[in-house]
Amino acid sequence: MPSDRFAQMALPQTGQAPLDRARARVLILGALSLVALGLFLTLGVPGGAWGFALPFRAGKLVALVLVAYAIATSTQLFHAATRNQILTPAIMGFDALYLMLQAGSVFFIGAMATQDLDPILKFSLEVIVMMVFSTGLFLWLFSTQARDLYLLVLVGIIFGTLFRSLSSFISRMIDPNDFVVVQGATFAQFNTVNIDLLWISLVLCAFTVPVLWLLRHQFDVLALGRDTAINLGLPYRRVMLITFATVGLLVSVSTALVGPVTFFGLLVTHLAYRLLPGARFGPTWIAASLVAVITLVGGQAVFEHVLGFKGTLSVVIDLLGGLVFLTLLLKGAQR
């Protein structure tokens, strides 16, 4: 028996093979993302219109890539911190909170003042409020021991409905001219990306990349749950704070740029989990972001430039993501 065990121990390549496979898959995803980016920029550009089309599309492309990154990352962080892989910030009604803040600021400060505010300053304030809200709300919900998943789904639905109702309530109270301002913010879509906030969003997202990369091992430990994380010496509360603040920031960015997309995060993170089974936070994070870029940019390229459809990509993504959500819920119920 012991000799048998040592023979297995001596095999050096175990653990190496899945790593190589993971690396190969990430590389393939990277190549596919590049193809998607290329297609989005070049598909169906009428001859002679390159000078106009390229800069126009490039701005939109950057926005879509940021949204892909923000949604994939925030979802994966949320999964690590809450120890479940079914709930996402969007399912917990988080983008609805952002929209409520929009309506609330118009209501309290007035549309004129809101529009007079420097959009970048205004957005920064909203991001800060979102970070504070998300940290407070989620720490309250998740700081105690693991809660029942179905209870949390219910809480998410209630929160989402509450935030949406509040923002529509506020919209009804303000005068119609002000309402137009709110509507402009709430109806951002993949087709009508909010370009004003592109640069600030880019800066914010770029800031999160090195921070999250440095913390990637800590997120692996975080995902083991509170008790195990503390046992392993993780400064649990601090990491939870950073995680939820980052989630708040990324949700603000994606919602500001293209509005709410409920099931996109769930779809892309689960594709990444399937592609890299058992992988750590770092590789999975890269894979999820790339899958998100491929889905969003590639899908938008096909929809916009090949099929000539408008505004249907989010419907398709939410349909697919919703199916994933239902499957996961049913699988969870069987266990």
Binding site: Q8, M9, H217, A223, T228, N231
Partner: protein
């Protein structure tokens, strides 16, 4: 040395622990026994800083758990609670590898790898090490979690019912492994255990809790006696001496006529 002084703890106004004070020397196995709700798990989680100490103080070799940085404590003591589960998909080897995290912070070296392999072998997990946790039985998963804590290689190891889900063979193997580790490497284990006979056979000392208070501390021979068990568990239990080891026959009520038998 573990020092627990005047520890009291309340959860939503209800006293769980009251004025618990005792000292455990370094090395060996200490079994923590007591009926359900005696406060064993609470005491363990206070010792491992999973819950905040409300009153009193707990220290390991002079390092107070409330004031020592958590990273430093993770190299000194480890804990495994009951009912462990992981939502992420992890292989057994990866989980056990996390036990080394306090030492390498994400960059394992050869020494870390060696200790992980040792822990896997100690818990008889080598054939299962590439399996995902959700593909294991309850007992196998329990062994994987114990292996993780062993890989952490701390002087003090707190285990809350480590024999949960284990069959007889693996339960005995685990206790033997813990005893060997304690003897060979001078480590200290504090184990919440429900099977009093395992405590009698393997523990160097037994701490009995009852209603949140310390009831008795002593060797297995002191504690595993009919009057003492009656006090702690409110249950009449025959204790026989078999091979110089007290064995409690707690599964059946004592028959008076059988007692007359020499």
């Amino acid at each position: 040395m573990i020092q627990i002084s005047d520890v009291s703890h309340q959860i939503s106004g209800l006293p769980i622990l009251t004025d618990v004070t005792f000292t455990l020397p370094k090395g060996g196995i200490t079994a923590l026994i007591g009926p359900n709700g005696a406060g064993k798990s609470t005491l363990l989680s206070l010792m491992a800083r999973l819950s905040k100490v409300q009153t009193g103080a707990i220290s390991f070799d002079g390092a107070d758990v409330s004031t020592t940085p958590t990273q430093a404590l993770a190299k000194r003591l480890s804990i495994l609670r009951q009912d462990n589960s992981v939502s992420a998909r992890l292989t057994v080897e990866d989980l056990v590898g996390f036990g080394r995290y306090p030492h390498h912070k994400g960059r394992p070296n050869a020494e870390d790898h060696r200790l992980v392999q040792e822990a896997l072998a100690a818990m008889a997990l080598m054939p299962l090490r590439q399996r995902f946790l959700d593909e294991l039985s309850g007992g196998q998963r329990q062994r994987a979690f114990v292996a993780m804590v062993l890989a952490q290689d701390t002087d003090y190891v707190l285990l809350d019912e480590p024999l949960n889900y284990l069959d007889m063979k693996h339960a005995r193997q685990m206790m033997e492994r813990l005893r060997d580790t304690a003897r060979e490497q001078g480590k200290s284990f504090v184990i919440v255990i429900h099977d009093i006979n395992f405590a009698a056979a393997y523990a160097d000392r037994i701490v009995a809790l009852k209603n949140g208070r310390l009831h008795a501390v002593g060797t297995p021979k002191d504690i595993v006696t009919r009057p003492m068990l009656k006090q702690v568990f409110d249950l009449d239990i025959i204790v026989e001496n078999i091979r110089n080891l007290p064995v409690a026959i707690h599964q059946i009520a004592p028959f008076p006529e059988r007692q007359e038998h020499p």
